[in-house]
Amino acid sequence: MGLAAAFWIMAVVMVGAALAVLFLRNVFHAALGLILCFIAVAGIYLTLSADFLAAVQVLVYVGAISVLIILAIMMTRDVQKGNPVNRLEIPAAVVAVALLVILVYVVTSTPWNISGAAPLAPSTAPLAARLFSQDGYILPVEIGAVLLLAAILGAIVITREK
């Protein structure tokens, strides 16, 4: 019962915050809506008993990515003209609603192979074992580290003054 209540609260907050990102006039207020949406996603992870991912979501998205986005909004403040839309508004709405209808139909009509087992409750140690073990995902972890390094170097090179 408590889980269901938590799910519905998080779902309503998340969808409302995502709509606020789209429809608030002020870009800074839209960024605040995005942060609220990220926090609600962390709550959804908690209801799925993914505690480590919830912490990572708060650290990476709420902590780092939103700060980057707000920095970008501050830097480009002179040319911010609210939240305008382009000519594609109606075709894009049709495409998005059609995709939503198709996705909901597929999700509700597929017989998912639900496992009855309880999920691993503190997921940090098993997740570390999966990521760093010999037969786990150690190679993708290393590649991810190289990708992050390359992205940081690329961002510095792109933004550097001539």
Partner: protein, 103 residues
């Protein structure tokens, strides 16, 4: 009514479509980047839901969600750097006015 896998997948689909609509229609480059982040979060929700309902003992979906976060962090760093470079060059971040490559 108990919460099942279908609830999480429908929620993820709703969030993804909101992000898609925003990314297709907004003119402000920063807003478009924010909508792409919303779409990545929607995909992460469905991955974690699959992980917790279909293979609860293996955590494969959570591992995948971590890699999605890594790529999203790299993407937002490079994307904002490109927005800064565009802003410095054009003095504008309206994507309709940045059409040098438009045929």
């Amino acid at each position: 009514m108990t919460i099942g896998l279908t609830h999480y997948l429908v929620l993820s689909a709703v969030l993804f479509c909101i992000g898609l609509y925003g990314a297709l229609t907004r003119k402000n480059a920063v807003i478009i980047l924010m909508c792409i982040e919303i779409m990545l979060n929607a995909v992460n929700i469905s991955l974690v839901a699959f992980s917790s309902y279909v293979v609860p003992q293996y955590l494969t979906g959570q591992v995948f969600a971590i890699f999605v976060m890594v790529v999203a962090a790299a993407e937002v760093a490079v994307g904002l750097a490109i927005i800064f470079a565009i802003f410095r060059h054009f003095k504008d971040i309206d994507v309709n006015k940045i059409d040098l490559l438009k045929w």
